[in-house]
Amino acid sequence: MGRKLLLEHINVPGINSFEVYRQKGGYRAVEKALKTLTPDEVVEEVKKSGLRGRGGAGFPTGMKWSFLAKPDGVPRYLVCNGDESEPGTFKDRYLMTHIPHLLIEGMIVSSFALGANTSYIYLRGEMMPQIRILEKAIAEAKNAGFLGKNILGSGFDLELYVQPGGGAYICGEETALIESLEGKRGNPRIKPPFPAISGLYNCPTVVNNVESIAATVPIINDGADEYAKIGIGRSTGTKLISASGNLNRPGVYEIELGIPVEEFIYSDQYCGGIANGKRLKAVVAGGSSVPILPANLILKTINGDNRLMTYESLADGGFASGTMLGSGGFVAYDEDQCIVRNTWNFSRFYHHESCGQCSPCREGTGWMEKVLHRLEYGHGKLSDIDLLVDVSKKIEGNTICPLGDAAAWPVASAIRHFRDEFEWHVTHPKEAMERNYGLANYADPLPKPEDLHPVN
């Protein structure tokens, strides 16, 4: 059984209350940081821990913190990104619902490290229960002297606010989130300037994912070295994975980074294999934005190595044969699932969620959705497949924010790996309406590297 740092006490009754959380050793990290460490020492610990952003991009958190500009007389802000709206990702909501004080504790430690005296938790608008849960937790923490003026006599002041958004995926993009927090329309800003220089109210700002902030608690409690012992290479610590799809045991799992993907899917400790005795066809490993992989490529890299749950291993092979850990939204598809339909469904989401600022994303996402709809419903043409690839290329890299890329990648990767299935939808339109293409050869063993590049 892997170590649990975030969800260790998740099953303790009443852990969502301050009292029980405190009994279980909660708020020790605040005491340790505020009483024995300087803000810079906290930043240094987080740097040493190797923690990487859990919101999708995987940028080293400590490094991000050290980029924060610190001009005199200008406030700095820490904003927690709780917008979590990526299809397939639901770990932050789980954490905030069941163990809200972990986030509050992390917010205090992180705000102290950054010198922020006002910090915000920005939540997606639909998370009504979580808003109340967090506000109650904030009130409890304040009552116990962990928030407000002169916390634990350290001279450090902190006010924490929960701000619900309107329920837009795009408000999870950090600069759109900042706009929304300022009360404006949630359009991503054009960078530079980056939030570390000019963010909320034009002041230096750090935006971090819920899980990244929560992870600072075990890092401070146990020390960076202890944290960095878990994991492989530059993927240290534990990661929450939201597992869904055709799995026997879907749910939120805390894994030690580095376990094999195969173990995660099939071990009874985790997902317990594919439901109903079916076989695995494909996996979206990091939330809807990352490239989809067929079963054979998700279990092994193109070189035949075991694929591991790490940033590096999942990305092995680049976009040709790899994917990304992203936000850890792990969706498994069994042999009865239709890749064309799934791709259409994802593109429908991005079409709906584009903010509409820049032309390639505003127009291209809708275009891709319409073409995919036509393919799925048996009216497609063979040329549609190349058209989709071309449109996705016209969007990718040419937009203001990464939502354009996130819309392009699932389409491009589905066609890259499942072209047969797309073509079958065109050549067998009637059949495609009645049955699915099935597993085909998507789970076949990968050819050995030496067969691909014979040495002579």
Binding site: A168, E353, S354, C355, G356, S359, R362, W367
Partner: protein, 334 residues
């Protein structure tokens, strides 16, 4: 003056002030290497970055950090660095990406130029002509919106809008109260006023001038004429509200439209007030300065030949070109 930095665009070097954008550096060089800009407007703070037509490739970041930039960048919002090398029309990648952007801008456009008042001075028309392809690959129903009157002087034809946000910045920055904005998201986003309010403001008419397409048009000019049949004349009046410097658009004896004066990039020189724009349409209300010079490539110049360019044979041959120039100078001296 602050420090100068050197930037090279498509092989042409120029020294510009630190802080200049790539687009503005290109404009200082001029000619074919200037990226098209549909949303950036130099007089409007914060504009640009949205339409993506001005994408360029930075093949060398700077003297200090020569690494190329990983993606194409919006030249209107990217600051030049010393030693930067930029490729615009010399990069096939840029040309291809721009073609893609133009296609995106057109897939939902109604292409109703024959009945659009903006035709002939529309930047989207020019852009599509210069950078687009002849046929569309889009086979679905185009997005449409109802036309709405925002007040009695301005009509909004949202179907034509490219969401450049210029009119929003204009209302924010040169009027004292913005009452319109962007509602909705993605390709359902639209310019609108909340609950169909009229835009009434001394300077609201300027949103017509900044609009690069025919989405915001002057109702007092609606369907009166095609712009290329009208003659632009610079004029001014003593106006208590604005500079009073305008262009009058004549058809025969009649002023049928008043606009601000626009430069070669279609940007106004000075914003004008609604009184000048909508209510002063008699010649005797103005002091006439002379004909407005319009860029040669514009159809508006079609009836106003300034001078003929040399025919292609001459243009290609440097010796002939020199001889032609001398000949031209001699004949114009006479």
């Amino acid at each position: 003056m602050s420090d100068k930095v050197k930037v090279t665009i498509d092989g042409i070097s120029i020294d510009v002030d630190a802080g200049t954008s790539i687009l503005n550096a290109a404009r200082q060089i001029g000619g074919d290497i200037v990226p098209p800009a549909m949303c950036y407007y130099s007089k409007l703070q914060g504009s640009g970055g949205k339409c993506r037509t001005c994408l360029v490739k930075v093949s060398k970041g700077s003297e200090k950090d020569p690494r190329p930039m990983p993606k194409l960048v919006a030249s209107c919002r990217t600051t030049v660095m010393d030693g930067m090398e930029v490729q615009n029309i010399t990069s096939p990648e840029v040309v291809e990406a721009r073609k893609g952007v133009v296609e995106m801008l057109l897939i939902n456009h109604p292409l109703d130029c024959p009945v659009c008042d903006q035709a002939g001075e529309c930047h989207l028309q020019d852009l599509a002509y210069e950078h687009g392809s002849e046929a569309t690959r889009y086979e679905f129903e185009r997005r449409t919106f109802d036309r709405i009157d925002i007040g009695d002087k301005i009509q909004l034809h949202m179907t034509r809008c490219i969401l450049c946000y210029r009119c929003v910045f204009t209302a924010d920055q040169i009027t004292n109260n913005r009452v319109h904005g962007i509602l909705g998201r993605g390709d359902a986003a639209e310019i609108s006023t909340y609950i169909e309010k009229a835009i009434e403001n001394d300077f609201s008419g300027n949103i017509i001038d900044v609009c690069p397409v025919g989405a915001l048009t002057d109702k007092t000019f609606r369907f009166k004429n095609r712009v290329w049949f009208t003659k632009p004349v610079d004029a001014h009046r003593d106006c208590p509200t604005c500079s009073g410097k305008v262009t009058l658009w004549y058809k025969g004896e009649d002023v049928i439209r008043v606009t601000a004066r626009k430069d070669e990039y279609g940007e106004v020189e000075e914003f004008i007030c609604n009184t000048c724009r909508f209510d002063k349409k008699k010649t005797n209300e103005w002091v006439i300065e002379g004909p407005r010079k319009i860029a040669n490539h514009s159809v508006i110049s079609a009836n106003h030949y300034e001078q003929l360019g040399p025919p292609p044979v001459i243009r290609k041959n440097p010796a002939l070109l020199e001889a032609n120039k001398e000949q031209f100078e001699r004949s114009t001296k006479l």
